[in-house]
Symmetry: C2
Subunit: 704 residues, 2 copies
């Protein structure tokens, strides 16, 4: 028997812990009974039961014909949990939900190790400890302290028990029903990854929601999330945006690729939908459970009131939905149907004349050329809104296209809401909120197309094993190699190394004497750029260690001298001389290492704009060239890289190629901690790496 | 008697129109009666009344002892409205609310003019036509078709009747009470400006909300909004963000200063709070009505559950509130008070142990060093939330600082909500929504300080009268002058002109022959920049009309020749030669002319970055130097202008001075349609205008 069956569809449940009135064991027993579950056994030292549930001292005392008890719910004190699991395990229990707190979350990691050991010895899979329980509404199973939610098609997995409880309490009012709920607490054994895998195959869950504050294994999470999202919508609330803390970084990429930005990129990469909070999660659930796919971004807004229609249209355009005017043919058909002073543009305004037939017919008509519709109704107290809702419901059935409703608000709308619900048309408090959901509905279809084109390689690909917490479970990749240095290389060393790997590094010569400098400058078309090379100087331009546009031989000599002086007090590694690039367009490409997800690749504007604008695209590495192109297209400043009017177009294909190749580097060289290519000169044909900085991690896996 | 008294506090009301069952006149009469108003007279050709209201053919038929009837509510057909107003006016009525539609909004502007004429002849002030009526809850006056809202301290003025109705319907559920509601429809006579002025002085309205799609007179609106916002919070929903349409523009400033961006700037300038939609408006009302001022941005979050606390903290930081850790002293005091495994950082996590005393004491304690607090509670079904709410209420009373609550959700929280409401602590559906309100509460206090320092000059200052719809009602300003051209000037002409006005224009020489070009180049330190001057060439760089870094005499000659050739087919005005600026930092400063608000001033990054990044600060002109400094500080790319590391700091003071001076130019020269200074070189000391483009409007006021 699989753990999922034992956990979610047990024949019998044991509740460990006191069932005296007011005790948590008693609350659990009552919840189970009230939810309609019957096969319950209370287990505690006094063998105490309740009036409706028998009690035993040990599950072993149970008569043979009442076994097996597949699931144990544990609410006994922390110190007793190992004994409890032993007792359950000996009786053949296969899954346990440990509600009891007082383990790792209070610093007691040893106790948590101990219960894991016992569970493993008996083949019990654990939920918790320190969790709020689980729910399987369709099995009438409610071993939880939280409100019993209505039955429905949404599964919800929550790292926070209290937040999970808030969601369940709110579900009725929000008109969202749940199939399953799992609060996994400390996740000592089963984690969000296991539940994502289980819910992927669960036909009773059409939509999966996840609340996380952190993940246990970034790459494994990505794999599980991507596989689930390929089949059904995965809605994720990730909190702790601002908690990334500040770690000292050497590179631009490292300082800007904060943890939350990486989560954001990772969630998008695996096709999950990131909700900003609980309300948006509910909105998305309502939409994704009921609505058919939206196969494009053209939205029609049909309303009986101008103001709310315009507010929704504003939001729609902000969400990149297209609020296009109708074709001439459609406009003519609508004009035939509607009275003269209605609005025939988009939003389509039925005015107060909009009756049931008007909603139905206009929605059916417009959906011949739009991908989805929003039906807004603002009613007055003396009119009946129910027939209008009926018109919307009929249009949804007739067209098979997504129609969201916003029947606003209070008493005048009350009669409409059950009609919409019965007809499977999700209703939203405001048109703006409906539009947000429709936008993500369309986005999911588009994402689906992209996933078909290029499957998420990051999830399956070994990132170069370096750190168990962030790497995959695979051992060190066969092809992984050491970097040639144990320390951070000098710029000149890093450039030489990248060149041997086939990266397009700018021409350069290292001069250690003034004469060599003049020779080097003569070798290039002058003017040249000259930079000091010294292990002690991290930010060269801060100390005047970069001189541009150096022209004549005398100037080269003077420049060499000045640069030499900037290295005073440090080791002097020479002066690096390169030709100046005419009309430079500067990009940045980089790598950093995220504690959760491992290697991350970045691109953005280069030079002084990198930090000033913080305009950086991130992905968990590696990416292919298509994905690298998408990264470049996302940049606010993409038109600067592309080359603006009156200038030559720049070779963004070569930049994408560079980013994609760079993103594979950490697979071969897991010791790369941070890497900046900045600037990367984007030319009319090709790119040239103008500067390189690499931070090297220790070879051992002892990094914190 | 003032129109406000007649409109909002009439002794008697006449309802014009049929009062047969189902007719609008009857709905109005019933609404008035149900709301508790008694002195009602129905006026219609049949002199029909209802069982509770007498009917007359004309108000003049009313016995003397029942007059005057100060207010007429008009629901009779459009064609009858002039006669109706005449009838009411002859009987001494001073205000009329015309609910009847079919005027300007259906193209019938003449009918609207006619009713305005009649009203003016009798001194009647009009609300409407095509409106949804008004409400004065404190006078039991509900002449409206919409839901009667609960009594409270919020006044709501709406350009859209239906949206107004949706708000009123929702008010009960949202726990927001209203003092007054005004739907002004077409605003033929009284407009949002009149109502803002009236509500400024209205002691029964503590907070004013406004829904607008457009304003009738930008400058007058700004004046009224600023004066109101100086006294009480003004919350504005402005829809039609995306409706600006695209007009062809010559300048960067013009193309980016779209209408909605100008509204946004204008609303901020006058101290109004822009809400994104109805839900946020309700949240803001609840907060601003109940909460004391928040005199800083340090927020403490006190919660009994980690997850929701972290979500709120994330949002708080996104809203620029400061989620700082407690001082050591405070932490020690909290540790004394709370059990060991509570969270002593911010958010402060009371865990499930958090009882009434814990909420009260911890809130009181933290508010000794924070400016405001958010109290989050996630309850479980078997615990009573009311005492916890009581703890929060007591803390609010004891500290006198703003405390918002988020008691989440459904049945477990239900008992807490009346306690919070009775205690004047606003509750929000989520912590994130509470945080948004607290942020705007703090913002308002900060704005207040700014308003004290520099009063809104834009509102009172004449923008240079040029167009009645956008200018103030003042006639052409005495000091206004014509520009020296009737057409768009050449760059060289514009530069000369600005220089005569004392603007810091870059050194330059105009060369019309190759020899003059060499002489000019010799006059400067080479290299030089050379640009073609031709009235036919708008985008010089698109046609190769700008050559930079021209060095030797031979190069200057060749450059002159090339530039001359770019002007082929156009008139050739010569070549403008300027010294190159070393290590340029380029800004843009500009002017445009907004149809609603008149002259608008902008600043941003210059050169190729202007369009690529669309990073532009806007204000309605003029601005003082402080405001110009704030504009520069708002730019995402401000650090580029300031000068990044390793480079000299740039003179942003001089840039602010330039922007402030520029912003006054349209007062003197109202014919400036658009003006771009781009680039403006920001130097270590001072600034230099590198290029000027001016679009000139016709002198007459016949522009569309």
């Amino acid at each position: 028997m699989s753990w999922t069956k034992a956990l979610f569809e047990p024949h019998a449940v044991a509740v460990y812990g006191s069932v005296s009135p007011g005790k948590i064991g008693r609350v659990l027993v009552d919840q189970l009974l009230d939810g309609g579950f019957r096969e319950i056994i209370a287990v505690n030292p006094k063998a105490a039961g309740t009036d409706r549930v028998p009690g035993v001292r040990s599950l072993g005392d149970l008569p043979e014909d009442r076994r097996p008890v597949e699931l144990a719910i544990v609410a006994s004190p922390a110190a007793t949990v190992p004994e409890v699991l032993k007792d359950a395990g000996e009786a053949g229990t296969q899954a346990a939900v440990v509600i009891t707190a007082g383990f790792k979350e209070t610093g007691n990691a040893a106790a948590e190790e101990k219960i894991l050991d016992v569970a493993a010895a008996y083949g019990i899979r654990l939920v918790g400890p320190n969790c709020a329980g689980i729910v399987n509404t369709k099995h009438h199973l409610f071993p939880t302290l939280e409100t019993r939610p209505p039955v429905g098609d949404v599964a919800f997995v929550s790292q926070s028990g209290a937040l999970g409880g808030a969601v369940l309490s709110w579900a009725e009012e929000q008109k969202v029903g749940f199939s399953k709920f799992i609060s996994y607490g400390n996740g000592a054994d089963l984690t969000e990854i296991d539940f994502l895998d289980a819910l992927r195959e669960d036909d009773e869950s059409k939509v999966v929601c996840l609340y996380i504050e952190t993940v246990s294994n970034g790459r494994a999470f990505l794999r599980a999330a991507a596989e689930l999202a390929a089949i059904k919508p995965l809605i994720v609330i990730k909190s702790g945006r601002s908690r990334s803390g500040s770690r000292a970084t050497l590179s631009h990429t490292g300082s800007m690729a904060g943890s939350d930005a990486v989560y954001d990129a990772a969630l998008r990469q695996c096709g999950a939908i990131r909700a900003t909070g609980i309300e948006e999660m509910f909105d998305l659930c309502r939409g994704f459970v009921s609505l058919p796919p939206m196969n494009g971004r053209r939205l029609a807004i049909v309303t009986n009131s101008g103001g709310p229609g315009v507010l929704a249209a504003d939001r729609a355009e902000a969400e990149q939905l297209e609020i296009l005017p109708p074709s001439d043919g459609l406009r003519a058909r609508l004009q035939e149907r509607l009275v003269a002073f209605c609005g025939f543009e988009n939003p389509f305004d039925l005015t107060v004349q909009g009756d049931s037939a008007a909603y139905r017919e206009v929605l059916c008509e417009v959906l011949t050329e739009y991908d989805g519709a929003l039906a807004i109704n603002v009613n007055v107290p003396y009119l009946d809104a129910a027939p209008l809702a009926q018109g919307v419901v009929e249009a949804a059935a007739a067209t098979g296209k997504p129609i969201a409703a916003s029947f606003m608000a209070g008493a005048p709308a009350a009669a409409a809401l059950p009609v919409l619900e019965a007809g499977g048309v999700p209703n939203f408090a405001t048109g703006e909120r409906a539009v947000r959901v429709l936008s993500l509905l369309a986005e999911r279809e588009r994402g689906g197309e992209r996933r078909d084109r290029s499957p998420v390689s990051i999830a399956s690909e070994a990132p170069g094993a370096r750190d168990a917490s962030a790497g995959s479970s695979e051992a060190a990749t066969a092809g992984s190699r050491d970097l040639p240095w144990d320390r951070n290389p000098l710029e000149s060393e890093a450039m030489d190394w990248l060149e041997t790997l086939g990266f397009p590094v700018i021409e350069r010569r290292l001069a250690t004497t003034p004469d060599e400098a003049v020779d080097a400058a003569n070798a290039f078309d002058r003017p040249v750029a000259m930079k000091v090379v010294s292990p002690g100087i991290v930010h060269k331009s801060d100390v005047g260690g970069v001189l541009l546009n150096v022209e004549g031989a005398a100037d080269v000599l003077e420049a060499f001298d000045r640069l030499h002086r900037t290295a005073e007090g440090h080791a002097f590694g020479g002066v690096l001389i390169s030709p100046m690039v005419a009309a430079p367009v500067e990009a940045l490409a980089g790598l950093s290492y995220d504690a959760q997800f491992g290697p991350v690749v970045a691109c953005g504007l280069g030079g002084i704009y990198t930090e000033a604008l913080r305009d950086l695209s991130l992905r968990v590495a590696p990416v292919d060239r298509n994905e690298a192109t998408a990264m470049i297209d996302e940049l606010r400043g993409v038109s600067i890289l592309r080359g603006t009017r009156g200038r030559v177009l720049r070779d963004l294909g070569a930049l994408a190629e560079l980013v994609a190749r760079l993103s594979r580097l950490p697979i071969t060289f897991p010791q790369i901690q941070e890497l900046d290519l900045n600037p990367v000169f984007v030319l009319e044909r090709g790119v040239r790496i103008g500067d390189v900085r690499i931070a090297v991690a220790p070879r051992s896996s002892d990094r914190s």
